[in-house]
């Protein structure tokens, strides 16, 4: 795109403001890092021709259906599958008795039955599965399985889980972290207390779960699905099927949205079992209801806080109790709790901190990894406390935050020194000093978008505007000693480069980034990224920004090795080191421009391959008092939210979100902007509408009408005010993954703005309308 076209596009698009400054005279580089390279699949996705798992088809396939428990807590007295098995068209019915291998699985902790055998621990737990020649037959057959339950009282209040009868042989306490840092007797002149509740956000991927399992002639099975952690899924499938891992292959299809772990093994394991049992390909596409029942949600959290500060507003001590509702199984609760406890004070300097965190088992829907896990819940609470403190001291909320802001060299309550860039003050002043959006008073009244929407009931006289600030932080990569390694291969032949890496493109932009890395290193324009399966070496789960960091790092190393292989003979011939040669536009040129040859000539028909690994420096688990260097890296952002609240109806419209983010280095400006916008919007959902409600353990509205995601009208103007490019020296390219921290911070910012507009405490997310109602005189 020429600069003129870029300017024109910016002028017409009012929703996206990218601060990327392109001087009018400097031509942007055409290749490599720092360029807004569009994704290779953008056209297919826009035109609807991009294949997802739900589109797959195999000759003679059968359809699967999973029978799920209608009760959150029940003893299974008997399962009678005979009526289902006798139905015409039914080819197999399986229960826990038909599992040849391990009956339990778990991506992190093996504590979850593939099929419930004696006890049901949550609403929607799989009990049996059916394969039939038509999807309706499969569903009818699943419904015809007679299960006799003894319904038990569900444990749904996490505070009661401590004293309740164990719901699982592993006990109800999944993890307890008592973090102790500093002097327990320290006190401040001012004390504020608060109780905060965070609801259950669902990753709500636009494409529900789907998969196709195909038996192999050697007795193995291939599973085609949108897994975001294919090797882990392969291993747990192999254990369940009683096969060696080599005989199970997970082939990753297009991923239709993933902000948490995909896919639900509660589908994939029955699919594989049914394919092995029938010898036929078996397909399953989940309904939206099954999707909500099956996959993991964000941990509902209860937080109790006490902040001590001196008269100038400097924090003295933070005491907190954090209770995560893990649901029936452990999943990622341990990691979520570590993040919640470690970041319980936020990006502030706190000399003394005493944080107790628990993750407990209940009969509620299962919780697991959703991006910003742990950090998002505590952000809403500690920022609520900062607002309370500011109100009590009569200090401007932004000023109070600046007085306490963390910077490089400060120490976290876990005892870890912040060694990466931490430009927290600069982020906050950037959003604070950005001009506020104009009030609509000069525009014609018909053009106002009031809370409630264009055809809503909003009335200008009842609308109050509020401005709120929030600062957030997340860790990047797995924490507490997780081995965050990734392996990538780069092949160059005939002027075309191919990247082979099992990092799944979930929409985070890995495959685009991989192409840019190879373009940058090898100067080759045409780069393909191979599709992912488990025959490739593992690259780990697509979480915590790890593919931007370790997988892109592995691609870069492999590309550098190819570069050396390519340039070594030339360097020898020219009598100079490979560092003095440059590759650009298909030409290899020496530093002085005197010697030059084409890449094709240098390749001489050869094929070059290299495989490399990237492994960041190791971390350590938090010890028994919550201390340890648990995190590889940290990322920060500041958000200023502007909201309009109809104080009679309690309806809220977010007018603008101004964000400044610490990104290390911008590798792809347009992709970065979309990641930030998506994160902010997901955060707005958590702040206002997204709460998967359950009553006595039963999910109440498992559909997208009851679970309201933000629409285009709910998404505000998102202004990316500043991207601070202070390179993180330990990260490849110096770049920090950018998707999670806006999700963490934006709910707290919206809550702060609603607090400012209404004068109400706002201690619960999502914000219910009755909590945002205020008297017009206040």
């Amino acid at each position: 795109m020429s600069n003129d076209a870029a300017t024109a596009a910016n002028a017409t698009s009012t929703r996206i403001t990218t601060p990327v400054t392109e001087g009018p005279d400097t031509e942007p580089p055409a290749l490599g890092l720092g360029v807004s390279l569009p994704p290779a699949d953008v056209r297919a996705k826009t035109e609807g021709t991009f294949p997802y798992a739900a589109d797959l088809w195999a000759e003679g396939l059968l359809w699967a259906a999973v029978l799920r428990s209608p009760h959150p807590h029940a003893r299974i007295l008997s399962i009678d599958t005979s009526a289902a098995a006798e139905m015409a068209g039914v080819r197999a019915v399986i229960t826990h008795e038909d599992i040849p291998g391990e009956g339990a699985y778990g991506r992190r902790v093996v504590d979850r039955p593939v099929f419930a055998s004696d006890l049901v621990r949550h609403h929607g737990e799989p009990i049996a599965a059916v394969a039939a020649d038509h999807p309706d037959t499969a569903r009818l057959a699943a419904a015809a399985i007679a299960v006799e339950y003894e319904v038990l009282e569900p444990v749904t209040d996490p505070e009661k889980a401590f004293a309740a009868e164990p719901l699982h042989p592993d006990g109800n306490l999944i993890r307890h972290i008592p973090l102790r840092y500093g002097d327990p007797d320290a006190t401040g002149e001012v004390v504020v207390e608060g109780l905060y509740r965070i609801g259950r956000q669902d990753p709500a991927p636009i494409g529900a779960e789907a998969g196709l399992a195909v038996p192999r002639p050697d007795g193995g099975v291939e599973i085609y699905t949108a897994s975001t952690d294919p090797h882990t899924d392969r291993d747990l499938a192999a254990a369940c099927f009683g096969l060696e891992p080599e005989r199970v292959k997970v082939v990753v299809t297009g991923v239709p949205g993933a902000t948490g772990d995909r896919e639900d093994p509660g589908f994939q394991l029955p699919l594989g079992l049914l394919a092995l049992r029938t010898g036929c390909p078996v397909k399953l596409t989940a309904t939206r209801e099954e999707s909500f029942l099956g996959h993991s949600h964000r941990h509902p959290t209860l937080l109790r806080y006490r902040h001590h500060a001196d008269a100038d507003g400097r924090l003295v001590k933070v005491e907190a109790q954090i209770l995560l509702d893990a649901g029936a199984y452990a999943d990622s609760s341990s990691e979520s709790l570590a993040a919640a406890v470690a970041f319980a004070c936020g990006p502030y300097v706190v000399p003394h901190a005493f944080i107790e965190g628990w993750a407990v088992r209940t009969n509620n829907p299962p919780s697991g990894h959703v991006r910003g896990e742990g950090a998002m819940q505590v952000c809403a609470a500690y920022e609520g406390q900062m607002d309370k403190l500011a109100a009590k001291l009569g200090i401007d909320p932004a000023e109070l935050r600046l007085r306490n802001a963390l910077s490089t060299g400060d120490i976290l309550p876990t005892g870890q020194t912040v060694t990466c860039p931490a430009p927290v003050s600069e982020l906050l002043t950037s959003v604070r000093d950005f001009p506020l959006p104009a009030l609509p008073k000069d525009a014609p009244e018909d053009d106002w978008l009031l809370p409630g929407g264009p055809e809503g009931a909003g009335e200008p006289g009842a609308v109050r505007r509020g401005v709120g600030y929030a600062l957030g932080m997340v860790h990047m990569l797995g924490a507490e000693g997780a081995d965050e390694v990734s392996t990538a291969t780069v092949r160059v032949h005939d002027g075309i480069a191919t990247v082979i890496c099992a990092a799944v493109e979930t929409g985070q932009g890995f495959s685009t980034l991989a192409r840019q890395v190879v373009q940058e290193t090898l100067g080759i324009e045409e780069v393909h990224v191979a599709s992912v399966d488990t025959d490739q070496p593992p690259a780990g789960p697509a979480t915590h920004g790890r593919h931007t960091w370790v997988s892109a790092g592995a691609v870069e190393r492999a590309a550098r090795m190819v570069r050396t292989q390519l340039l070594q003979p030339l360097a020898h011939k020219f009598g100079m080191s490979t560092e003095l040669l440059q590759i650009a536009d298909g030409k290899i040129t020496s530093y002085d421009g005197v010697l030059s040859t084409t890449v094709t000539e240098a390749m001489d028909g050869k094929e070059l391959w290299a495989t490399a690994q990237c492994r960041p420096h190791p971390t350590e688990p938090l010890d028994e008092s919550g201390q340890g260097d648990a995190f590889v890296g940290l990322a920060f952002c500041a958000i200023r939210a502007v909201v309009d609240v109809d104080i009679e109806l309690g309806s809220v419209r977010v007018v603008e979100m101004a964000i400044a983010q610490d990104v290390g280095r911008v590798l792809n400006p347009s992709q970065l902007a979309t990641r930030i916008e998506a994160g902010v919007t997901q955060g707005i959902g958590a702040a206002l509408t997204e709460n998967l409600r359950s009553a006595r353990g039963l999910i109440r509205h498992p559909d997208l009408t009851g679970y309201a995601l933000p629409t285009a009208l709910d998404a505000p103007e998102i202004r990316i005010v500043k991207l601070i490019e202070e390179r993180d020296v330990v990260a490849p390219f110096g770049a920090k993954p950018a998707s999670a921290v806006p999700v963490v911070t934006s709910p707290a910012a919206v809550a702060a703005a609603v607090r400012a507009a209404t004068g109400r405490p706002i201690n619960r997310l999502p914000i219910r309308p009755q909590a945002a109602v205020a008297s017009p005189n206040s």
Partner: protein, 298 residues
């Protein structure tokens, strides 16, 4: 969702007139009529319904427009929300146009129809409180060219039912030539189901105010006493304005009528307070009714 598996054969009829449609339904009693399909097809996709035959109403052009009769408009049941939202329709029946514009995202408004909204009779159907306030009548077509009329409120309350092989043909709505307002509270800024809605219709010829509250009960509620009281305060021959206090009192009257206090216990003592969520709903209804009447009288 793509399902490549063979589907059970379905008979689909596409009649060109209302009577042909009635005849087709009579000939195949198990068939289901379908217009916009916005509710029916979601039930089919969920596996809740597997109709053995469909009678498509989309080609019946007489149902897709309206005509006039004795000071009334006869609205075809096949009018889409999108069509009703246009300015020419809004000039005739402003509240119905407003409810049509609020009835969901454009995809739904382009397909969903007035008749479908009535037949589905969901508590959150946006047209329903407006039809209740307008005291609309349904013209139902039966076998052999038979026509009968039933008030829409009787159908919604279950006092009258559609017989087999009957179809909603038209909706008879009075043309009142006076302000009408429909207001709806939802959970988000984007399209959403109503948590509460209020329709206010002024009838200057009969010196009446008619109000209906939607989404808070299985059918729209009419606060008749509040209507009569507020109509008695309005100076119909003059400015028609009301003091803010009167508007507020009307809102609270409507809300209390639709969401009454709990009954006191049989053994005496205080009635238990309403739960906070119900109290908020009552406040919402009060604010909507007050705003709607204020806008109708301004």
């Amino acid at each position: 969702m793509t399902t490549h598996a063979p589907q059970a054969t379905q008979s689909v009829t596409l009649p060109a007139s209302l009577d042909e449609a009635v005849a087709a339904l009579g000939a195949m009693p198990a068939a289901v009529p379908v217009a916009g399909g916005t509710d029916l097809m979601s039930a089919v996709n969920k596996g809740l319904l597997r109709p053995s035959g469909l009678v498509g109403l989309g080609r019946i052009s007489e149902l897709r427009g309206w005509h006039y009769q004795d000071g009334h408009a006869l609205l075809g049941a096949g009018l889409t929300h999108a069509r009703m939202g246009r300015p020419d329709f809004a000039a005739l029946i402003p509240a119905l146009a407003a409810s049509a514009r609020a009835a969901g995202p454009p995809q739904i408004r382009n397909a969903g129809t007035l008749g479908g909204n009535i037949a589905t009779a969901a508590p959150t159907g946006d047209a329903l409180p407006v039809l209740a306030a307008l005291e609309a009548e349904l013209v139902v077509a039966g076998p052999g060219g038979a026509r009968r009329e039933i008030p829409v409120s009787h159908l919604l309350a279950g006092r009258a039912m559609l017989e087999p092989a009957e179809l909603i043909g038209f909706v008879r709505v009075p043309l009142l030539h006076a302000p009408q307002v429909f207001l709806k509270a939802t959970g988000r800024t984007g399209p959403g189901r109503a948590t509460a809605s209020v329709a206010i219709v002024l009838d200057p010829a009969r010196r009446g105010v008619r109000c209906a509250v939607g989404a808070i009960a299985p059918m729209p509620l009419r606060p008749l006493e509040a209507e009569r009281w507020i109509a008695s305060l309005i100076d119909w021959d003059g400015e028609r304005g009301l003091a803010p206090d009167a508007l507020t009192a009307f809102g609270e009257y409507v809300a209390a009528a639709c969401i009454p206090d709990q009954e006191p216990p049989a053994d005496g003592g205080e009635a238990p307070p309403l739960p906070p969520a119900v109290l908020h709903l009552r406040r919402t209804v009060a604010a909507l009714a007050r705003r709607a009447l204020g806008r109708a009288l301004s």
